[in-house]
Symmetry: C2
Subunit: 274 residues, 2 copies
């Protein structure tokens, strides 16, 4: 029911395990909370062909939104916009609005004495070269603007990889667009923890509760070693409003709790991990 | 030069941001350290068609190894092997070796008083249903065996999503296979931190050093706000042995340090972040 989205994270640092991909988790959580559904997350390196392929493959799956992170900075290996342009078969061109944003940032840094010269060197101009028809999104905490462009029914959003910049642009310019499309759709989740039962015993119980509650997704997460000591059961749903979402999850939660207790298990509610 | 690999992480919890994907980072780091190259990481939900599509798309790119994480447990939403079988156009069948592994685990748990009955219920048998021709990999810390199967030139490895189980099977059964293919190939990385320069100023310097050192990859990571206060420069290479790798990185590191100092920047070596 929820509108599908995709995320593409760009960066060699993610492919050599230098950096933990907290951006993907943060975005996925926000997307779910806003009532949309991240269907796939793809991580590729700083390579125009890899980025372009990943974007083209995502386009084939026709998500409502496609968000990229990373690769918008001034260095030569910041290649996301080049990859995006290649995928969309268009050129990169200097966007005047973006150039003004970049120019004003460096002027501000120079005024504050943080840098010596505010001049627009080629690496700085690079951050204002957007795919034809794209528009910049204001970056409140960094220099590289985000980028928005439409392709058929897909809204594409390119955000920086630096987490503080990615989050600031998302909150400032992206969240409201997503909410507009999601409407009143609401995501609701809760978790319970069971002890005294083992995962393989609870499998048929989950199946039964999900059969009786077709819009609630229940997933077991073994927490202790050997899938036997402690199990978290996570309930989630996306519904047309929060009342319906809560009611649905509560019903499934009560039913599963009773079934687990019948098997001799103990239940306690827990706060969902972040 | 390094043999290409792909990782597919399966789990709705990753797509709603409930779980931070530490598995992908851990695997990517180990793969790089072993001298291979993770080219792409794909995250999909607990859905047979999504898993199967992701596997088929990876097969098209012909990596030497494909590792999946997640979806091997006893519950109905553990669907990785079903997705794998669909992608490979083969059936799931009870593997006797895997069944023995599962049976012995539950017998052990029953002997230790951790569970009441060691019987092989359908959810337990499920963990021993592998794609035709596949073999199980011993799971030292959990019940679900890992799975290995060959497809053309691609070795496919399915590992559990529980991090302790994933790591134990990787270290026990997978690392040696990867090392055999990587041979003496060695990955080497180091980082320096610069202050007193800004990222856009250093862009042409990196480009020059990478031109002079074609096998060394250098990436700048702005650490402070606004890409201007602190920048980490990360150097990495994969070479035929560790002597060559270190020498290459050192040469590039010295050259870039000198160029940054000429611009008035200050340099200090830092330990790579994990």
């Amino acid at each position: 029911m929820a509108q599908p989205m995709e995320i593409i994270c760009v960066g060699n640092e993610l492919l050599i395990g230098k950096t933990l991909n907290t951006n993907a988790q943060w975005l996925a959580k926000r997307i779910a909370t806003l009532g949309l559904s991240a269907r796939r997350i793809t991580i590729v390196g700083d390579d125009v062909d890899e980025i372009s392929s990943a974007v083209q493959e995502a386009i084939q799956r026709n998500p409502r939104f496609l968000i990229t992170t990373g690769g918008l900075g001034p260095t030569f290996d910041d290649k996301t916009l080049e990859g995006l342009a290649k995928a969309l078969e268009c050129k990169l061109e200097i966007n005047e609005e973006a150039l003004t944003m970049v120019k004003e940032k460096y002027r501000k840094y120079a005024d504050e004495g943080k840098i010596k010269k505010a001049e627009l060197t080629p690496p700085r101009v690079k951050m204002a070269k957007l795919p034809e028809g794209a528009k910049p999104l204001f970056n409140p905490v960094g220099t590289a603007p985000g980028v928005i462009t439409e392709h058929g029914n897909i809204t594409m959003l390119a955000l920086p990889g630096v987490p503080s910049e990615m989050k600031a642009i998302f909150d400032g310019s992206v969240a409201s667009l997503l909410k507009q499309v999601a409407g009143d759709a609401t995501f609701f989740e809760m978790s319970i923890e069971a002890t005294g039962v083992i995962e393989s015993e609870t499998a048929p119980l989950i199946e039964r509760v999900m059969h009786d509650n077709p819009y609630v997704y229940i997933k077991s997460h073994p927490k202790g070693a050997e899938r036997i000591s402690r199990i978290e059961f996570h309930f989630s749903t996306t519904a047309k409003n929060s009342g319906v979402a809560r009611k649905r999850v509560s019903k499934a939660f009560v039913q599963l709790s009773e079934l687990i207790q019948e098997k001799g298990g103990k239940i306690k509610p827990i706060k969902a991990e972040n």
